[in-house]
């Protein structure tokens, strides 16, 4: 159960992308944001499964927008980062910084 308090790396990337995109965060833009910034390919399946999971954990909220024709008349699901999500991000960052502390001289050698 303790696991749930940790954010996985990919979960963190998805949350950060959603924060960056603000109002315009939905499946297609989130994927592009991550791919554009990290330079790594993002599997669609992994993304949607993660979005679902984050929503279930209460980190993300979502709403359906009006259907548009270029999507075959289907609605977009826009995501918004919830308070709990922001808290989890802050917690992750703090944890990571603590782990990095004092390691610069050693890691700098590489």
């Amino acid at each position: 159960m303790n696991r749930q308090t940790f954010l996985g790396e990919f979960e963190m990337l998805v949350l950060l992308a959603a924060v960056r995109l603000g109002e315009g965060a939905y499946g297609v833009t989130i994927r592009r944001e991550i791919e554009g910034r990290t330079g790594r390919g993002v599997g669609r399946g992994a993304l949607y499964v993660t979005l679902d999971r984050l929503e279930q954990k209460g980190y993300l909220g979502s709403r359906l927008a009006d259907p548009t024709p270029e999507r075959g008349g289907r609605a977009r699901r826009y995501y918004r980062v919830e308070r709990a999500g922001l808290a989890a991000l802050r917690e992750s960052r703090a944890m990571i910084s603590r782990m990095w502390q004092g390691l610069e001289p050693q890691l700098g050698k590489f």
Binding site: G27, G72, R77
Partner: protein
Amino acid sequence: MKTRPPRPAQRLLARSLPEASREAVLGDLEEEYYLAARSRLWYWRHALALAASFLWERLRLARPPRPRGRPADSLRQDVRFALRSLAKAPGLALVAALTLALGVGANTAIFSIVHAVLLRPLPYPEPGRLVLLHETHAAQGRGRAQPSPGNFLDYRAQVEVFDGVAAWYQTSRTLRDAGAAAQVTTAQVAGDFFRTLGVAPALGRAFTPDGEPGATFNMANIYSGGDRVAVMSHAFWRRGFGGDPGIVGRDVLLDGQSWRVLAVMPASFAFPDPGVDLWLPWDLARSYAGKGFADGPPRDFRFLNVIARLGPGVTRERAQERMAAVAAGLAERHPRDNQGWGVRLAPLADELVRDARPALLVLCGAVGCVLLISCANVAGLLLARAAGRRHEMAVRAALGASRPRLVRQLLTESVVLAVAGGAAGLLLASAGLGLLVSLAPADIPRLDEVRIDATVLSFTLGVAVWTGVVFGLAPALQGSRVNLTSGLKEGGGKGGAGGRARHRMRGLLVVSELAIALVLLVGAGLFARSFARILAVDPGFDPRNLLVMRVFLNTAAYGSGAKSHQYYQQLLARLGALPGVTAVAATTVLPMSDVGIDFYRPYWRGGEADPGGQAPKAGIRMVTPEYFQTMGIPVRAGRPFTASDRADAPAVVMVNEELARQVWPAESPVGRRLVIDYKGGKYPYEVVGVAGDTRYYGLKSRPQPEIFIPHAQNPYLALNVVVRGAADPLRLAKAVEREALALDPAQPLHSVVTMDQLMAEKAAPDRFAMTLLGLLAVIALLLAAVGIYGLASHLAGQRTHEIGVRLALGAAPHDVFRLLLGESLRLAALGLALGMVAAACLARLVAGLLYEVSAADPLTFAAVAVILGGVSLLAALLPARRAMRVDPISALRYE
């Protein structure tokens, strides 16, 4: 507007998505599909990947199913349950999935070939309007003769039914670029060749604005005047010129003359075949102006390939009617050349695959059979499993599951199994497809288009689901028929009321499997016998240790006959002096080889009147004196040519036995005179010898009448050189090529191959059909053996208790053995008998593909029955032996 994403993919994806995400995910994918202008294949790939991830996530979470009422949810529940229940019997699931993978994989591979070769439309606009035009002569039994230049020009004038008529003729020429010389394949094209096909060049223009340019060629297809312009194939442009965009307007050196490149065709354009490097616009009408053709272009040299595009709204029937009238008019105006000749129009798509179609259809039938056998096998496995699940079914029924609900549950299991098998089959097919295509003979058209695309994918998916339903239905109906009282009472049990029906059904499955396997084995056996017959045919010469090659002398340098003759004398002398060479000769056309100048001329016995258009024709071959000795063709009478048959000596010929039989059935032809209508006149030649018959066009072809003329008396520029080595002739190739370049660095040798390779190429279509059919038959045999083995072990297992009782009561082990074996063998015998009947009926369908083997060949049928009977016996023997050794005590305790 772009096409919608493929609906089946959408539906599939929608099914696998959870309700909450469905709308958004489908929408996102569709948005990307439209915005980035993706292909349908792209959509398929990503829809499948998405569906897989969601299904996997679901499985991973494996949340306890909440009670839900809607069908979509219960389907998901069924799938999840099916996966769990299959995971409980991994052995069975693996065997079943592998069996299906074989069946689906074989079908996918063959379908991708059939799809590319037979089903996919040709890559030309409105391909249905393209027809090939042949001339026919009923009395001479010719159904697809090639039109002559004179007649072609008349056909071209039929503008009211045709929207373009074009002709082509393929030859090879020498291309020189930056010092190196290479052989290229050219097609001389007359008429609106590119416009008729409806394909524009990718670069440049096929024709200049000021009318149609074109070159004229003489009777030997050597350039004789007019515009030297060429259109280049995309492949040759990439290969030979590195895709240089500045190629248009540049000159290339062909046979020592410069030809201007007008255009480059798109990569997809490969007509008449992918081997063509250059198309040379050909001014056919002016090619025959003067030069002894007083009546215009000749009408009796039938050598053109003609294609036409039907006019808009013109049916083939109407065009055919019109052409019949045209042919009748030609026969009236030119009776000598056109008496009895007609015209036939055939759809291009049909004509291209005419030779490949029957064999491919047989293969389709064969893979269908393999699929049926794998279905029967898996159905058998599931039936056996259903026996063990009677208690489970009874419990479910008692808890309120209706029979349709149980059937659905069981069907879902088999479809899940089928889809898993289908996925494995797809992998198998994509791995095997390359191998299959490399095995295929080169003359199957459009093989380069074979690939696994969206159509093939949906075919595979369809086949997988269909097989899931077919092999799942019987076990599902059986398994869901529950008798609550006995079912629940039985505990984990076996036997019981449903057992008998189940055994009957399993028996039925095994019987049909054996019958189908027998049909396939008979088919494979017949093809193997036929192939052995073909290989055993005597070609009329000794093909071992022969190296053959082609020389195409440059017209400019070797224009006159004397020079050409001198070159070949020197070349043959040099080659003959090489160590390891035992004999060397040259000829215009070589048996088994498609390159060469092969033509037929009318002949009749000397002293008789000219029979006009009725004279039979013989193949004319120019050969050097040592030809017969080098090839190992026996001289049956008279003498072979000698060095003294020079240009200034009396004109002599040799004939083959076939011609001798026809002209002089009762006497020796040696010393007699034969008139040949050749070289613009009807001259008598003295027959000095008779050569044995050879099979020019492959081992299956009949020997044709042939006339040989000494090369010295009728020199040709292009010859096939044949070298006989003392051992492996390929080892001579380097030295032979070196000698040729030493003689003239500008005259390379082309197409250097061994005669064995040429013969293998000729036999390739038969070898392909035999290999594939054999492979499928072996798969069928294995699957059928697995089926019998499964049935026999199941029967033995079900009766362990009974066997224990029998043994305890004093039955001898071999009685038990006989009892169990007898049961399996009765079924096997029934299967074999039914298979024999079916094979006897179906074999007649392939009779046309067999060479000198009867479709009812008793040896094949007997051998197949023995093999299949033996395999059945073996498969039934093992479980029966195991049962015989059962320890009565433990068997009785096993309640």
